[in-house]
């Protein structure tokens, strides 16, 4: 096992190279992933190293996902790249009606051992069709596993876990974080497809987040620290399977819950977290839970407009302060 300081996108690349080396039945395909080395570099060098097991496809998302399913149930271990999360919508029938049904309806005779990698989220100037955060659509579908990596270490470990899994897994990466570096231990023990993680501890409020929003929450948390408010931050990592035990443990201490995601607030997965915490331990809450997400709108391209809609660190900090000290008085 070696520890290297690498970027998020390089961590993805290392996980893919690991999979191709470890599983002879694995293949990787998508738009521009082979000869052009990937639109964001996730597949850089893999065609040269693994030849025809890494190949380019037409811009045909339905055929790509269906191909992954047919290949998977025939014994391969495909990893298909969907360039933007928004393009998953083009393949919705294959993902929901085909992939998600295969194991259950066949009573286990078909094994949909496939991974769909994509990246999502808004970045300055990204248009409304290249900026959505759509994880809730897929977390709503039984039969799929859904994970979001908030850092380079998870980008490596969660993708390896996904590819190793016998279940169909969607991994949402964050384009905004692709250049962010971290110390990643390569070739260590494989994780399971499961598990949330407490990434910061504090006694005043429990903040649940995932994906790119985690870094915004951590920025907001630093600002809160300076004002004497201390937040526990749980990076949910996997929306399916859902591991809320660290959330329940933390809320039992803080009595306050906020959920932060970059996805639209209405119908977002944050509502599910709030509902489960209320069902499990509503009487222990000392304040009404808060959802902090994108304002319910289409995402405009102009950075000044998108910033007005997104859950920025400033907005997160302000809403958390209101949750902890609703009268405006400093927290005790």
């Amino acid at each position: 096992m070696s520890v290297v300081e690498i970027s998020y996108i390089r961590a993805v690349n290392e996980a893919l190279a690991w999979a191709l080396a470890r599983y002879p039945e694995s293949i990787i395909f998508g738009e521009d992933v082979a000869l052009p080395n990937g639109p964001f570099g996730a597949t850089k060098g893999l065609r040269a190293r693994f030849d025809e097991r890494v190949f380019d496809t037409p811009i045909s998302e339905s055929a790509m996902v269906g191909t992954a399913l047919g290949a998977a149930v025939s014994g391969l271990r495909p990893v298909v790249e969907i360039m933007y999360g928004d393009f998953l919508l083009v393949a919705m029938d294959q993902i929901v009606n085909q992939v998600a049904n295969a194991r259950y309806v066949s009573n286990g005779a078909l094994v949909p051992r496939l991974t769909i990698r994509t990246q999502q989220g808004a970045t300055p100037g990204s248009c409304a069709q290249h900026s959505q955060s759509l994880e809730a659509l897929f977390a709503h579908i039984p039969g799929l596993r859904v994970g979001l990596a908030s850092n380079a270490v998870d980008a490596y470990e969660m993708l390896r876990a996904a590819i190793a899994s016998d279940d169909p897994v969607l991994i949402f990466e964050s384009r905004r974080l692709y250049a962010q570096k971290a110390a990643v231990a390569l070739d260590g023990p494989l994780e399971a497809v499961s598990g949330s993680r407490v990434v910061a501890e504090g006694g005043d409020v429990t903040v649940v987040s995932w994906g790119a929003a985690v870094s915004d929450v951590l920025t907001a948390r630093t600002a809160l620290d300076e004002r004497g408010v201390h937040a526990t931050v749980v990076d949910l990592r996997w929306l399916s399977p859902l591991d809320l035990n660290p959330v329940f443990d933390s809320v039992a201490r803080t009595g306050r819950l906020a959920v932060v995601h970059e996805a639209n607030t209405t119908g977002g997965f944050g509502g599910e977290i709030v509902a489960r915490v209320v069902e499990e331990m509503g009487s222990q809450l000392t304040a009404a839970p808060v959802r902090i997400g994108a304002r319910d709108c289409r995402m405009p391209a102009a950075p000044s407009l998108s910033a007005a809609l997104l859950p920025t660190p400033d907005r997160i900090a302000a809403e958390l302060m209101t949750l902890v000290a609703p009268t405006g008085a400093p927290a005790s």
Binding site: P58, G66, S74, V105, S106, A109
Partner: protein, 320 residues
């Protein structure tokens, strides 16, 4: 084939087609008396396509059909008792009652399943074919679709992708004259689907879909091309559906006399005339009837699908 072998060969085809016909007629009866519930799509009149194709397919080939797929499953050797049980909502060895008539699978028999989304099986067959190429199995992925599916985007995506990626995919378009309940010519601009294949540089052939030997010859050629040249192939099989789109379809849309004309050309009538041995074909039908009664009897002894298992098997990993 020598002339001496011909009767045996033709009788075997007749027996397989009649098995599918009699199975589905039994299904109609089970629907009527309530032992099967839900929408059921029969392939009565189209039996020559799966039977002709399956005569040349190998166990290593993957087949995907539509919701009108009982015939393909039977032609691939899926046991009749298991199929009856699956349709009857019983704890069938196929899918434990989860598939029903319109969406069951039997991969152990080279049948990756029916599909109840029109055209959606084509991408999956493309993947199955691709896997076989990677695995150097000298096998194909064959998908049967209706002519209505030729207007689905996923089908055209797959035709192009199979061509550029050199995938041994065989698409069989069963043109039965109707897109569900609307005449095909009202909905499809193309005069023939083989021309759509040509647009992608895909070799294709138009065959008499009521002649199992013609279908078999086409599939043999398609399979050889797919495996030998790593190229997809499309077969359009012209046939006619003698029943409604689904079990409750009253077929008011049919012009007068159409069914009577179609019944003169349907595959069982035609093959019986070719065989021209009433004693032999009568014996086949009697044998199939006995077999079906036995298989139905077995299916009726399979317990209903167990509700305690309704949540089981969604994931390989933890059930959450």
């Amino acid at each position: 084939m020598s002339t001496l072998e011909a009767p045996a060969h033709l009788l075997a085809l007749y027996e397989q087609m009649y098995t599918i016909r009699a199975f589905e007629e039994q299904v109609m009866e089970l629907l009527r008396i309530g032992e099967i519930t839900g929408s059921t799509h029969l392939c009565i009149g189209q039996e020559a396509v799966p039977v002709g194709a399956s005569a040349v397919l190998q166990a290593s080939d993957a087949v995907i059909a539509t919701y009108r797929g009982h015939g393909w499953a039977i032609a691939r050797g899926v046991p009749l008792a298991a199929l009856f049980a699956e349709l009857m909502g019983r704890a069938s060895v196929l899918c434990d009652g989860r598939g029903g008539s319109a969406y069951f699978m039997a991969p152990d028999h080279g049948f990756l399943g029916e599909n109840s989304i029109v055209g959606a099986g084509v991408p999956m067959a493309l993947g199955a074919a691709l896997a076989r190429r990677f695995q150097r199995r000298d096998a194909i992925g064959l998908v049967s679709i209706g002519d209505g599916a030729m207007n689905q985007g996923a089908v055209h995506e797959s035709l192009n992708m199979a061509a550029v990626l050199a995938v041994p995919l065989v698409v069989v378009v069963e043109n039965n004259g109707y897109v569900e309940m609307t005449p095909s010519q009202a909905l499809t601009a193309k005069p023939a689907h083989v021309r759509a294949a040509a647009a992608y540089g895909i070799e294709s052939v138009l065959v008499d879909g009521n002649d199992p030997d013609a279908v078999g010859a086409a599939v043999e050629r398609a399979r050889a091309t797919a495996i030998g040249s790593q190229r997809p192939f499309l077969i359009e099989a012209e046939t006619h559906r003698l029943v409604g789109h689904y079990s409750g379809d009253l077929q008011a849309y049919r012009p007068p006399g159409e069914l009577d004309a179609a019944r003169l050309r349907e595959p069982l009538v035609r093959l019986a005339a070719t065989i021209s041995d009433d004693e032999a074909t009568d014996a086949v039908r009697a044998r199939v009837a006995r077999l079906l009664a036995e298989e139905l009897d077995v299916a009726r002894r399979v317990p209903p699908a167990n509700p305690e298992r309704a949540l089981v098997g969604l994931y390989a990993g933890p059930e959450r």
